[in-house]
């Protein structure tokens, strides 16, 4: 691995076990991974491969059962809830599969809910125009299409200028055309900012637009590949 790359986030021997109802689930079984500054990384895996669990731990939403997670020189492994909150507040942006917009707030307000608590945010208006929604500022989620809602969610995530953008199946609830439009937005943002972006998906095609693809299987990293021909988002097809 190139020694000059700037590592933003790094995990070692990460495991996570949790109880779901009456069964124990071992979601992660020793994951070693490093995310580089400014790269677009795609984590591929089938349902149950542990990719959402990994994303939650990377984003400071959850804690590992064992192993270490470091953000730059901060050890997140033993961070308190308060420190994890501060980490998310300052450095991480999230995009979820089901957008998770707050239905009682307009597009602008959904972004404002994040900019309100950020140090040096973009204005909600400019974040929304970066995703092409400058004309839909005062629409409520129920008045927006699925793709538009997901773009609001992306605007909300990038408005704080995060160093890390984590996207959990961002196209999972969208049709093909809308999905491509959302990926284009992510691609453009990756090009124009030096935000590290991680997309988790079960859709192998999306890997073609990544700098690197991490394959997850059964809670382990099954291999890391670099696409031979990195393709533009609008060239993807599934």
């Amino acid at each position: 691995m190139d020694q000059t790359v700037d590592i933003v986030l790094e995990t070692r021997a990460l495991t996570r076990t949790y109880r779901m109802g009456e069964v124990d689930i071992q979601a992660l079984r020793g994951v070693d991974l490093a995310l580089h500054r400014g790269e677009l990384i795609v984590m591929l895996g089938a349902s149950g491969s542990g990719k959402s669990t990994l994303l939650n731990i990377l984003g400071g939403l959850d804690r590992a059962t064992s192993g270490t997670v470091c953000y730059r020189d901060h050890d997140l492994t033993h961070a308190s809830q308060r420190q994890l909150t501060a980490y998310r507040r300052q450095h991480v942006g999230f995009v979820f599969q089901f957008y998770n917009l707050i239905s009682s707030l307009t597009a602008r307000e959904n972004v404002a809910i994040v900019t309100d608590i950020s140090r040096d945010p973009l204005s909600p208006e400019s974040a929304l125009s970066m995703v092409g929604l400058q004309d839909r500022l005062d629409h409520f989620p129920s008045q927006l299409s699925g793709g538009e809602q997901q773009r609001v969610a992306i605007a909300r995530a990038i408005a704080k200028r995060p160093s890390l953008l984590l996207c959990d199946e961002p196209t999972g609830a969208l049709d093909f055309r809308t999905g491509i439009r959302v990926l284009e937005v992510i691609e453009a943002l990756n090009r124009d900012t030096d935000t590290t972006m991680a997309i988790i998906t079960h859709n192998a095609v999306i890997g073609d637009m990544a700098d690197r693809v991490v394959h997850l299987r059964d809670g382990c990293v099954d291999g890391v590949t670099v696409p031979a021909h990195r393709r533009r988002a609008r060239e993807l097809q599934w």
Partner: protein, 787 residues
């Protein structure tokens, strides 16, 4: 405004039905608190001001007749501050165009000037002029009732002679704030008057020249009241003194104090119950609202919102709801207080009564309401906020279900699928179900309390005026008369039956407990004024011993078989010890009864009577009253149906109004609890219901699940609600027990029926609203949305 605040307001807007339901409960608590405290403050304040500015006396004595020269000697009793003697006498009046008998009280004032004690507050006109013996000042309520103004005249029957009187003025007095006739419970302003006349004129009319029969005085600060009273009693016993009384035994003061006591009890009990119920409701509702926002909370946490920020946010939601209820309660409280003020002005004649809402009451109610919001929502908020965000974002694990015991019982075939779903849902979270049932049961209990008040008041009056007081007319004689008067009365037109009675003022004493009342001597088997057992059956009087109202027995701490000391305040003043032969339930008034022949014997007198009760042929009543007017022996004529109407009107206007407000509040609470429950159930189950619809269930079939749960919760709450209601009523009945009346703690099936009907109809209404929601449910949209 920050986006989070905006979300708060929008959430509130979305929850408006539920929020309003809680706000109404809070408003009920705040309203009762504000109302009671305002009334209490206004009455107390008006009382204190009027007493102080018009020198209300502290000790009162009635004597038969004592020389005015004695006053100077009494002034020297250590501890006496101001002292004033006067002449007072009962009087009968005739007012133009008014046929019913009017009773009155004549009181003398120093010629041409205000008395030193119990000064008059003139509303119109002036005091009687010196030397004008026909001039009187009349009580304002009486003047108002008959539309009298200064210059008008009335006729008094003084010593059997019709004497015309002219009104020189109209006045209020601290001594007669509450102007009920001597044997009445509530004022009847058309039939009872106070007249103030120059001392000389009144003394001439009643042959009291150089003498007095009433004495009022104030005490020096730090004086020993009891020793002053003992000294007065000693000095006045040979002049026929009936014992010095403190304000506590002064009729007007006593009634006012009882009213204040009731208000105080009300100020404590009702708001407490309402605020507890509202804290409880907030708890139930906030817990469930917050659960539906589980995901939003997780998202906000993912963005980096701190636990404390989110806790404040959700606590803010609870506080906003409560604040809304508080404002509503303050508004309603102020409005009802103003309205009650007019009512009280009717019964308590103060020169001015102001009704400012005390600032501390605003602050206290706000504090209590806020506390109920926080205690109610704290746990829910904290649980939601402290869950790790990743956990909150995962769909909740499939909840554990079990077969319920009902499904193993033979009833299982009757259940059907929807029944099974309802049962398993409720059985899965027994704590949640218990909370919901408790909430509904509390409101059912409030309904019992309201219904009980309405019915118990009616029952109380029926007992008093149907079972106990069966006479039509009560005649009071000026002086004890021989029993042959009965024979004369029997021959008057329209008289169907006559029953004589003897009443002697007395103080009952047991150790340090004492109660001033009268011994009422009745026939061996009284028919017109019965002594009844608990079931309302008439009882003969025991040949020996006293029969006491149970309340009096409790006040004195004596039971059947104990002895009570009786200090007689008339004639030969004696102290004797009499056994208590029985206690009787009498809801109104406080009495001590014995056989009249025994009382005559104790008084060492012949068969004397103080008055008589008449049963009258209604058609000839007016003729009879005309005849009675001309009997010199009759000092007062009381019409029982008027007295009953007066009491009913008084209770209707005061307690009953409260009770009705109460039933309305309780009903809205029942609706609020059930509605909130159903709304949340609906939100929690929308996906499941939509799934069933897609699987091919009809909306009618699916609605059975929803309605089944509403019906089951309501049904389970009814009986605990009754128990809670009985508890509330016991509290209230104890708080409201006083000398005037005791609300009997009896419950008819109707009360329970009403409470159940309240729950059932609230459930039915909610069921309809939920059906509307179900019919509008877009099953596809529900299933598409994330869990």
């Amino acid at each position: 405004m920050r986006a989070l605040h905006r979300k708060l307001l929008r959430d509130l807007g979305r929850l408006k039905g539920q929020a309003l339901a809680i706000a109404v409960v809070v408003a009920g608590g705040v309203m009762t608190l504000i109302l009671s405290v305002t009334m209490l403050g206004a009455l107390t304040h008006a009382q204190q001001r009027f007493y102080a500015s018009h020198h209300f006396a502290e000790v009162f004595v009635d004597v038969k007749r004592a020389p005015l020269g004695l006053v100077e000697r009494l002034q020297n009793i250590p501890g006496v501050n101001l002292i004033e003697a006067r002449v007072g006498a009962p009087v009968r009046l005739a007012v133009a165009d008014f046929d019913d008998p009017v009773r009155g009280q004549m009181v003398s004032i120093p010629d041409g000037r205000q008395p030193t004690l119990n000064r008059l507050h003139l509303v119109a006109g002036h005091l009687p002029t010196v030397g004008r013996e026909e001039q009187v000042v009349v009580s304002d309520a009486f003047a108002e009732a008959h539309g009298l103004t200064p210059g008008d005249s009335v006729e008094a029957i003084i010593n059997g002679r019709r004497t015309p009187l002219t009104l020189s003025g109209i006045a209020l007095s601290p001594e007669f704030l509450y102007q009920a006739g001597p044997t009445d419970l509530v004022p009847d302003y058309r039939r009872y008057a106070i007249l103030w006349m120059n001392q000389q004129a009144l003394a001439d009319a009643y042959g009291m020249n150089g003498a007095f029969n009433q004495l009022s005085l104030t005490l020096q600060s730090g004086a020993d009241r009891d020793s002053v009273i003992d000294a007065l009693d000693l000095a006045l016993s040979r002049y026929g003194g009936t014992g010095a009384r403190t304000r506590h035994d002064q009729q007007s003061h006593r009634f006012l104090e009882e009213e204040l006591k009731g208000q105080r009890a009300q100020a404590r009990i009702l708001p407490t119950i309402f605020l507890l119920v509202s804290a409880f409701l907030l708890n139930v509702v906030m817990t469930r609202i917050i659960r539906t926002q589980r995901e939003q909370i997780a998202i906000l946490k993912a963005f980096g919102y701190r636990d404390s920020e989110l806790a404040r946010h959700y606590a803010g939601l609870a506080l906003l709801i409560v604040l809304l209820g508080w404002a509503l309660g303050v508004g309603l409280g102020a409005w009802t207080a103003r309205w009650m003020a007019d009512l009280y002005a009717e019964y308590f004649r103060f020169p001015e009564m102001r009704f400012p809402i005390p600032h501390w009451a605003l602050a206290l109610s706000l504090l209590l309401a806020g506390l109920s919001a926080l205690t109610g929502s704290w746990r829910a908020v904290w649980q939601a906020v402290s869950a790790p965000p990743a956990e909150a974002m995962r769909p909740p694990a499939p909840q554990r279900f079990h077969r319920t015991w009902l499904e193993r019982s033979p009833l299982r075939h009757a259940l059907g699928n929807s029944g099974r779903i309802v049962l398993r849902h409720l059985a899965r979270q027994p704590a949640k179900m218990a909370l919901s049932v408790t909430g509904i049961a509390l409101s059912a209990g409030l309904l019992i309390m309201g219904a009980w008040q309405i019915e118990a008041l009616d029952r109380m009056l029926d007992r008093q005026y149907r079972d106990i007081m069966r006479m039509d007319i009560e005649l009071t004689f000026g002086d004890p008369a021989p029993t042959r008067a009965v024979g004369e009365l029997r021959h008057l037109p329209g008289v169907l039956a006559v029953e004589p009675w003897r009443r002697v003022p007395a103080t009952l004493i047991n150790g340090h407990r004492r109660y001033r009342t009268g011994l009422l001597g009745l026939e061996a088997v009284p028919r017109l004024r019965q002594i009844v057992d608990e079931a309302g059956n008439p009882q003969p009087l025991p040949p020996e011993g006293l029969v006491l109202t149970r309340y009096l027995g409790q006040r004195l701490g004596v039971g059947v078989g104990d002895s009570v000391e009786v200090a007689i305040m008339e004639g030969h003043r004696r102290r004797l010890s009499l056994p208590v032969a029985a206690l009787v339930e009498e809801p109104i008034g406080v009495g001590a009864y014995l056989r009249r022949d025994r009382l005559n014997h104790l008084m060492r007198e012949g068969p004397a009577i103080s008055g008589a009760w008449l049963l009258v042929d209604d058609n000839r009543r007016d003729d009879l009253i005309d005849e009675l007017h001309d009997l010199p022996v009759v000092a007062g004529i009381g019409l029982m149906d008027e007295a009953e109407n007066g009491v009913r009107r008084y209770l209707d206007e005061t307690l009953l109004v409260f009770a009705i407000v109460f039933v309305i509040l309780a009903g809205s609470i029942a609706f609020g609890v059930i509605y909130n429950n159903a709304r949340i159930t609906f939100a929690e189950r929308a996906r499941e219901l939509a799934t069933l619809l897609i699987l091919g269930y009809t909306r009618a079939e699916v609605s059975r699940i929803l309605l089944g749960e509403i019906a089951l919760l309501g049904g389970l709450a009814i009986i605990p609600g009754w128990a809670i209601g009985i508890g509330f009523c016991t509290l209230l009945s104890e708080a409201f027990s006083n000398d005037l009346f005791r609300i009997p703690l009896a419950f008819s099936p109707r009360i329970f029926g009403l409470s159940a009907a309240g729950v059932v109809s609230a459930s039915a209404l909610v069921g309809l609203l939920m059906l509307r929601r179900l019919w509008r449910l877009d099953q596809v949209a529900v299933l598409k949305a994330p869990e």
